[in-house]
Subunit: 373 residues, 2 copies
């Protein structure tokens, strides 16, 4: 038998009941990483703590020869260098980004893929050129409907060899409200390799799959894009045969900095009885966060946290805090965000075959115990 | 029953035969991260790609009030600020650092802890004050035998509440050859939070557990340290009752940049038939690397790779390359390092209850396939 790509690339699957995390899932968890939850203390996530997901390999990129092309259904095709981009007026936007698969490993049954728990998130200040600037220059035709963004990362997924590519409706890509950026800097420094060096797309409010890294081409099309990452992956499906709804904007979520100190292995927390300040962050890509609630009895009862003002960063998480008086004992702390669109985090995980957009509440095990108790 | 610390902190255990990775192990894998193997291409690992292991939480540190104390069996106890340290003569050392638990998840049976595969490694340029400078100033007494280093990270492990602390023999800590550093910068920038900001120990050639982060105290003692991380953890034991040998210097290892491109889920590689350049890095904390071998038939036969000159960085990994002519088919590529002490990587993993120092050879699954083949 001659070799075939399917020898190394299998179909999507759902884990068997009770099946532990596989070596393949572990290999993804070793490469990709989440935000250590105590890093929720920073308004802007320091380098190396922001979550990272890379489908294939991190490409080796030379910014001096990097070229971004804009082509397809446009009047003026463009080919711009990094120097060209840096010479254009730039803007800086603070954005909370979250992986669409965040929460997947807590689903039952578990879709087998990158096994995120709850912390695949981070907030950065991205600097670059508004996408609408370049699109206005290229001048899409009257029948144009989408922009397709292609990265330099190349691999195989479920038997399909591909460069990573995703599309946006032209109304989103060129919209005045959406602040879609061609970003070349993160927190004031050139992009790190794993965040798309030298150029990536940033789509505020959308899950991470839309923020195409190592961006090298934008194609304007007059038909919707049917590539793998648009039509096969990143769809909300209950059954394999469905077309499914596309994954787009980030559902609301609140996360707590686990209080006290941890046990190394269980990550359960130990606090001292008395006053315990709880603190966290909340965000939604659907609408502004309006309130955050905290429960110290595993969701039995809820109380309202103090939410910091929104400030000038509409696409970034908001800080909240709550004072808890802890008696000795064991607790499960939870928190949930509400947004202005009437969305609220569910207590039970919403399930789909891809394990996307599971914004069920975080649960933190806490033991309240006197010292040497 | 009143709550007890053992309610959240269990004894060490070995996974049952066939037991998948547990949720607890996954939670550690989500926080801590390894080097994506393609990042072996960089001489010095860029920010965020260097492996990280944190036993407890990353402390919030204020460098303006940070103080390092040197006390115990010394003639002149010291208390120095970060400004004091930065005013002393500094040195910069390029160091390859590896977690002592690297390779643990590939052991059978598997010790349950941070489930590393093979890539818990990274190379950085550390800048700081040689430890011997401060020790000479403090002047240890004639009976002093060890220096105990304590970090600001606090947690519980197997029922023992503790600040992370490790010791070094005074001959290593104050030695002229060993370049032990009080490091305040990594790759020319202040330490990131997860790498010990504002101050950490760097012990070139030793596994990561010795490089105490968030360093706040050095105690000179006239008896060997018996703290948890020295006498309980980080020992090579076959049986639970043994004292065991301490984990110290890094055993030799060679890693390959997986060639070609990956399947997302299996991480198996696809290359085109013909000439394939293989490239990687090799290091040893025991003695200089003297040769690297490559096998394209899963260790059946070995051929010698081209090893770059050692250059001026004796504690850093060395680059190697090898040209492979790939016929269509499936392969398992492996590589192994030899050092001047006569050590060589084993094909079969060396087992101990902690899963430490498993430097068995890396195995890379490759499919050689014509395009659209």
């Amino acid at each position: 038998m001659s070799p075939h790509i399917d020898d190394v690339s299998a179909s999507a699957r759902i884990a068997d009941p009770g099946e532990g995390i596989s070596r393949e899932e572990l290999a993804l968890a070793a490469r990709n990483h989440a935000l250590p939850l105590e890093a929720l203390r920073y308004d802007v996530t320091p380098p190396g703590l922001h979550y990272v997901l890379t489908h294939y390999d991190i490409p080796a990129a030379d910014p001096s020869t990097w070229q971004l092309t804009v082509q397809g259904d446009v009047r003026r095709p463009l080919a711009v260098s990094m120097d060209d981009l840096r010479s254009l007026p730039s803007t800086t936007v603070r954005v909370t980004m979250e992986c669409a698969g965040n929460g997947r490993a807590d689903l039952t049954p578990r879709p087998v893929s990158q096994p995120w728990l709850v912390e695949a998130v981070g907030t950065a200040e991205w600097t670059g050129v508004p996408l609408r600037t370049l699109l206005a220059d290229a001048a899409p035709g009257p029948g144009a409907v989408e922009a397709v963004f292609t990265g330099a990362d190349h691999g195989v997924e479920r038997g399909v060899e591909q460069d990573y590519a995703r599309s946006l409706p032209l109304s989103v890509a060129a919209g005045r409200d959406s602040d879609v950026l061609l970003a070349y800097a993160m927190n004031g420094h050139p992009l790190p390799p794993q965040h798309g060096h030298p150029l990536r797309l940033v789509v505020p409010g959308w899950y991470g799959m839309a923020h195409v890294k190592w961006l090298r081409d934008i194609r304007i099309t007059d038909t919707p894009f049917t590539g793998f990452q648009q039509a096969e992956a990143y769809r909300l499906r209950q059954d394999p045969g469905e077309a499914g709804e596309p994954v787009t904007r980030i559902a609301p979520r609140s996360l707590m900095i686990p209080p006290g100190f941890p046990d190394f292995m269980s990550r359960s927390r130990v606090v001292r009885p008395g006053t315990v300040r709880l603190e966290g962050r909340a965000w939604s890509g659907l609408a502004p966060v309006t309130s955050v609630e905290v429960s110290t009895d595993d969701g039995g009862t809820w109380d309202t946290a103090d939410l910091d003002p929104a400030g000038g960063a509409p696409w970034a998480w908001r800080r909240w805090e709550y004072t808890w008086t802890a008696a000795p004992g064991r607790y499960v702390l939870t928190t949930r965000a509400h947004d202005a669109g009437g969305h609220v985090q569910p207590v039970d995980p919403p399930w789909n075959r891809g394990g996307f957009a599971n914004n069920a509440v975080q649960r933190v095990d806490v033991l309240s115990l006197h010292h040497r108790g």
